[in-house]
Symmetry: C2
Subunit: 120 residues, 2 copies
């Protein structure tokens, strides 16, 4: 069965906390859901929290890298929070470019980083 990652709207931001290990189908539907929510809400920023994600494979890493760029194209800035060491290692090993991607330790720091970036 496919899981769906809930996406919360708070002010002009979207929050998604990934608290399950992502399988391919869940990652793809998250990508689609997030882009739809950005369009529907006009959100200017997104925090994706990976605190509970302990490992990712190359497919998931690519989906995550893609969704950041796609959100950017749609005008929403993404902050990734809670990247664990193992996940960071995978991202770098796979050469997934996180250049220009905002990161923060946790959800609230991610939100304040977005506010800083977008509200000056």
């Amino acid at each position: 069965m496919m899981n769906r990652i809930p996406i919360l709207k708070l002010e002009q931001y979207l929050l998604a906390s990934i608290q399950i290990e992502l399988d391919d189908q869940t990652a793809l539907s998250f990508q689609e859901d997030l882009l739809n929510r950005i369009r529907d809400t006009g959100a200017k920023g997104v925090v994706i929290d990976l605190t509970s994600v302990t490992l990712i494979d190359s497919f998931i890493a690519k989906v995550l890298g893609d969704v950041i760029q796609m959100a950017d194209l749609m005008g929403a800035k993404v902050v990734i929070t809670g990247i664990r060491p193992a996940v960071a290692i995978t991202l770098i090993d796979l050469g997934i470019s996180m250049e220009g991607v905002l990161t923060a330790l946790n959800l609230e720091q991610g939100l304040s980083k977005l506010k800083q970036e977008l509200e000056g």
Copy 2:
């Protein structure tokens, strides 16, 4: 398969947005997860967002009513947001007491109601 409702921590508050129809087992594990997170984080307030819940049965209604009282016993104030007409009707028809329960239209209004209540 059982679903788990993700619970997000933001400052001293927990946010749970229920974006699937709740079955009995998911509702019970949500109850347990939420109480554990209150204990682990020392959260002073919880927002449970029901925007995407279109209907509930008597079992789910009781579990929700219970978790509000349990959270209260543990020192965390609960705000329920996004109650739809059909859900409101069910709660009243079933005699689930929502007396003293804070409610609000959506997540951000729920959060500001909590802040008002707890931070004065």
